[in-house]
């Protein structure tokens, strides 16, 4: 019994010594330098958000895409490095430094680093990056995620409100069947494209069956595209879903951010206008600018795939937006927005 206890204490002491070891600190910092370099180079191939997610917002990195090649490697990810660094710093501090006024400087310095690491972790867990796009005179009470999307089913709740049931796109990407008590039907995800583009099924160019004959897909195919890698571009997802009602299938449908989003519609119009002229472009985009929905038990549900919305308990109205440049140049001098909260 005594031997077991002594053995346990010995193991604990060795472990504590390892955790507070300066050699461990050096090794962790070396890995951190390598990880930052790999993540920075990989950003060129994978884009900012993908690189952040694969190298820094993860525990282990398996493989990296660098200089156009896939490099097989294993590295500790940002979460693992940050966690162990934090534990190492705290353990070293506790084991080596007495809490006296003479050591105030080192306590403050280490405390600052600990605060940095913990603060970064809290920010990463709980923060959301969102954008609010509005024009002068417009009011909004929600912001949108630049990278995350949601499939939303909308139905009327009362004269003033709609009920929105939002399914994160991350769930769509996993496939399978999704149900919710607020929906009188299930959704089976047949396909999900993280990034996509629409192809108009012009009568003279179509050469195969459509994805589905319901809704917008009767006139447009949606094809998968490589993930966007530049900051002035973004992924536009598409999902092919089957809506399964209480009496059976309500058909396959395609939901995409290309449909209904005014910015994407405008982009499409400009693209087609360059190819086939403004009139034909208008005809084409009118075929995609359609509201899609199903009706179950007398209740209508429209659906759309859109950037994830974060609703705020207040609204903002843009009163005036100004953008001034330095005289005689295009160099931005001042961006200002006057808003009413």
């Amino acid at each position: 019994m005594l031997d077991v206890r002594c053995f346990s204490i010995m193991i604990f002491e060795r472990f504590a010594k390892f955790l507070s070891s300066l050699k461990l600190t050096v090794v962790l910092l070396a890995f951190a330098i390598i990880l930052v370099w790999v993540g920075t180079v990989a950003q060129a191939d994978e884009g900012l958000y993908q690189a952040q997610s694969r190298y820094f917002k993860t525990w282990v990195v398996l493989g990296a895409n660098m200089f156009g090649h896939h490099v097989p490697l294993v590295l500790p990810g940002g979460y693992l490095l940050g966690t162990v660094l934090l534990v190492n710093l705290m353990a070293a501090h506790i084991s080596r430094f007495l809490f006296t006024w003479k050591k105030l400087g080192i306590h403050v310095a280490h405390g600052g680093i600990i605060l940095l690491l913990v603060g970064q972790l809290i920010t990463d867990i709980f923060s959301r990056e969102t954008q609010l796009r509005f024009s002068e005179g417009e009011s909004k009470s929600y912001a949108e995620s630049p990278a995350n999307y949601e499939l939303v089913f909308v139905t009327s709740a009362d004269a003033q409100h709609n009920q929105e049931i939002a399914i994160p796109a991350r769930l769509l990407a996993r496939g399978g069947v999704i149900s919710n008590p607020q929906l009188p039907f299930s959704i089976r995800v047949a396909k999900y494209f993280h990034n996509s583009e629409p192809v108009f099924r012009a009568p003279m160019t179509q050469s195969g069956p459509p994805m589905t004959t319901n809704g917008v897909a009767a006139n447009f195919d949606f094809v998968a595209k490589d993930d966007s890698k530049t900051m002035d571009d973004r992924n536009v997802p598409t999902a092919q879903i089957e809506v399964i009602g209480p009496n059976g299938s309500l058909g396959d449908w395609v939901a995409s951010d290309w449909i209904n989003d005014p910015a994407m519609i405008d982009l499409l119009w400009r693209m087609y206008a360059g190819q086939v002229g403004p009139d034909m472009a208008q005809t084409i985009v009118s075929r995609i600018n359609q509201q899609q929905g199903v009706e179950v038990n007398g209740k209508r549900f429209t659906f759309l795939l859109r950037p994830e919305r974060i609703w705020m308990p207040f609204s903002l109205t843009l009163l005036k937006a100004t953008h001034s440049v330095y005289p005689g140049t295009d160099i931005p001098k001042d961006f200002r927005s006057r808003v009413r909260l």
Binding site: T83, L121, I125, S135, E138, Y142, V154, S156, A157, H161, N162, Q163, E164, I165, P168, R170, L171, A202, P203, M204, T205, Q206, S207, P209, T213, N214, G215, V216, A218, V243, N247, L250, G251, N260, I265, D266, G274, Q275, V276, G277, D279, M280, Q282, T283, V285, S286, R287, N289, Q290, Q291, Q292, G293, V294, E295, V296, N297, G298, R300, T302, W311
Partner: protein
């Protein structure tokens, strides 16, 4: 910390339900929907009414001689004939026959560029075609190919009795070239039996509703939710914005003389409002910049005298040389309020009488 990370991640992957104020995004675009749980499948031709008209097809029956080795496929969609033309190496080309309502001459270049786009070629600036015998008549043959093209397309087009018949072959470059003689023989063998004597639905593509009266739209796409509808004889253009239920608003574009105030008084009458004096009008009217000129904007709320429902009207009068352009949006107050900015921008970019 691992637990906190896991919890945070799970929370963001949940289905969320909330009540939100009604906004225009769920009310604007026309609706394409599945009618109920009971089975009526969506019209497979929904949205593809480009020239066919709705209801039973009334085009004449085609006869043709199928080249050796070609296989007939299920037509479907817009096709009245669908075939596979195989090549020696196992690849094949797709051949289709599609009748569409005859389009205006300017769509010829647009079609050509659409085919060029399909094989990855840049738009052409002029149309190039050669004569081709289709049945007993002469049509046009378009050959789309190029150095960096991803395939080759042959299209033989015959205009006949209000319709354009497209005989198209597309596929890998080598296959289409190999099958070209067979394709030409095929289109030469085509004959048309007389169509049954039934009334034909008005071809929708001959004057596409969405692109009729193009000058108003040539500054850009229509605002979201606007749908062009046939205009009456006194209007240059007309659009409808459908809301939920019966709620809607209509946009009318016209050009007329008669002065500004008499027309505004007419609007007052449409809203059941008492006549407005010139002095009051000058106080209430706002100035809007339209293509460098000062246009006048009026915003009035009343009751639609036709329907008896509350209505709001926003009108913009753009002065011209001999007459003025009148742009009016009128209808459900909420829709008009939501559309006011889009309506103003539409007027500012339109080219009617501006």
């Amino acid at each position: 910390m691992i637990f906190a990370l896991a919890l945070a991640g799970c929370d963001r992957d949940k289905v969320t339900v909330q009540q939100v104020p009604k906004d225009d995004q769920t009310a604007q675009a026309p609706m394409v929907s599945q009618p109920g749980a009971a089975t009526v499948p969506a019209n497979p031709h929904a949205g593809m009414d480009m020239g066919m008209g709705m209801g039973a097809p009334v085009q004449p029956k085609l006869k043709y001689t199928l080249p050796s080795g070609w296989k007939e496929k299920e037509a479907g969609q817009m096709r009245v004939g669908s075939f596979e033309a195989p090549a020696k190496d196992g690849q094949s080309a797709d051949v289709s026959i599609i009748p569409l309502a005859m389009m205006p001459p300017e769509t010829e270049l647009q079609n050509l560029n659409m085919w060029r786009s399909a094989v990855g070629l840049p738009p052409a600036e002029k149309v190039e075609s050669t004569p081709v015998t289709i049945g007993s008549a002469q049509g046009k043959l378009y050959e789309v190919s190029g150095e960096n093209a991803t395939g080759r397309i042959l299209v033989a087009v015959l205009d006949r009795e209000g319709k354009s018949w497209y005989f198209k072959m597309n596929g890998p470059d080598a296959v289409v070239r190999e099958q070209k003689p067979a394709f030409l023989d095929f289109v030469k063998s085509v004959s048309f039996d007389a169509a049954p004597a039934t009334a034909m639905a008005a071809p929708l593509m001959s004057v596409p509703a969405e692109s009729a009266v193009t000058p108003a739209n040539s500054g850009g796409p229509l605002p979201t939710g606007w749908k062009e509808v046939p205009a009456t004889q006194f209007l240059l253009a007309k659009y409808v914005i459908q809301g939920t239920g019966d709620a809607k608003a209509e946009v009318n574009v016209s050009r007329t003389g008669g002065g500004m105030l008499p027309n505004v008084l007419r609007w007052c009458g449409q809203l059941g409002l008492p006549p407005i004096s010139e002095e009051d009008f000058s106080k209430k009217a706002q100035s809007v910049d339209v293509a460098g000129a000062k246009a006048t904007l009026v915003d009035m709320t009343g009751t639609d005298m036709k329907t008896g429902k509350p209505a709001r009207l926003v009108g913009i009068i753009v002065p011209g040389v001999n007459d003025s352009g009148f742009y009016k949006i009128m209808g459900d107050p909420q829709i008009v309020g939501q559309q006011k900015d889009a309506f103003t921008k539409f007027v500012q970019t339109a080219k009617f009488g501006n």
